[in-house]
């Protein structure tokens, strides 16, 4: 995977598989400390300590343990290549938090890529989950919470309605563009020079 937003999508899908009703994705770009932090928090069924130990090892995964696969080991490797780390905190019947941290300016750090596309895919594809995106750059924050949107729509329109798709995409893009206006050049897919 060539974008961190694809990894976020992958980890969030794990939360859905774990039966989560609430999933919060957090992105923090801290320019002062040169760190990029990502977190995916779910209230799914969680894992015991033994499973958490195994979760970053691709070779202990079996077909019956649907929760894990190659996704987390790949992201862990990507973080460790960038003077960073990945850790998983989980409590059975409470939920799981995956925390990933990178040196933001590291030459090997993948771009975030299309965060709006990841969120749109999750929102429309899993409407039964309550989704929150928190995107912070230093002291500024953009929070996208789908609860008021779903409350407004009620049963009148699905999230896959053409106009609603346009609304969601626009709201995400605008919010992300605003909060990242100072850092956008650092997150382009292809950087010149």
């Amino acid at each position: 995977m060539r974008e961190l937003s694809l990894h976020l999508l992958d980890i969030a899908e794990n939360g859905v598989s774990a039966g989560a009703q609430n999933i919060t994705i957090t992105i923090v770009e801290d320019l002062r400390t040169d760190r990029l932090k990502l977190a995916v928090e779910d209230d799914g069924r969680g894992m015991d300590a033994a499973m958490v130990e195994q979760v970053t090892n691709p070779f202990t995964t079996t077909r019956t343990t649907r929760k894990v696969g190659l996704g987390i080991p790949l992201l862990k490797l990507a973080a460790e290549m960038c003077a960073g780390s990945l850790d998983v905190e989980s409590t059975p019947n409470v939920g799981t938090i995956v925390n990933v941290d990178f040196q933001r300016s590291h030459i090997d750090r993948m771009p975030l890529g299309d965060v709006a596309g990841t969120m749109l895919s999750l929102l429309v594809g899993w409407p039964q989950v309550h989704w929150v995106l928190r995107y912070r750059v230093d002291d500024e924050e953009f929070v996208f919470d789908d609860a008021p949107i779903k409350a407004e729509l009620g049963d009148a329109l699905p999230l896959s309605d053409p106009e609603v798709i346009g609304f969601l995409r626009g709201a995400l893009r605008e919010g992300i563009a605003d909060v990242t206006r100072r850092t956008r050049g650092d997150n382009l897919m292809v950087t010149e020079g």
């Binding site: 995977m1 899908e13 749109l120 895919s121 429309v124 949107i149 407004e152 329109l157 053409p162």
Partner: protein, 122 residues
């Protein structure tokens, strides 16, 4: 497109939509499912999903349910898209690029004709 998205915009969309209900899909409720396991995502499933949503938006296709699923054990065929229309059997499409997703929506979901060349062999 308006530049600031607020809940008022959403309210307007809702009011307008309840006035004109032109279902353009083939007979029966259409469901489009994109497989979004690690294998699917690595093969480009998010761009496939994006193409599905873009086509729905561009062509104003109403009444389509879009969902996701995890890995369905056909990783070599990813990105996978499944289409179910009404009570017809589910059709599984493989190696669905964004262009092919658009084709499947237009020909199968709207036109009612299965895109035979893209179906995963049973």
């Amino acid at each position: 497109m308006p530049t600031v998205k607020s809940l008022d915009d959403l309210k307007k969309i809702k009011e307008q939509a309840t006035q004109k209900r032109d279902i353009k899909t083939a007979s029966g409720q259409a469901q489009v499912t994109v497989a979004m396991g690690t294998c699917g995502i690595a093969a480009g499933a998010r761009e496939t999903m994006k193409a599905v949503l873009d086509t729905i938006e561009t062509d104003s296709l109403q009444g389509i349910i879009v969902t996701q699923t995890g890995c369905i054990g056909l990783c070599e065929w990813e990105p996978i898209v499944q289409v179910t229309i009404g009570d017809q059997p589910k059709v599984t499409y493989g190696k669905v690029t964004p262009e092919r997703a658009q084709q499947i929506l237009k020909e199968h979901v709207v036109g009612g004709q299965v895109v035979k060349g893209l179906v995963v062999p049973a």
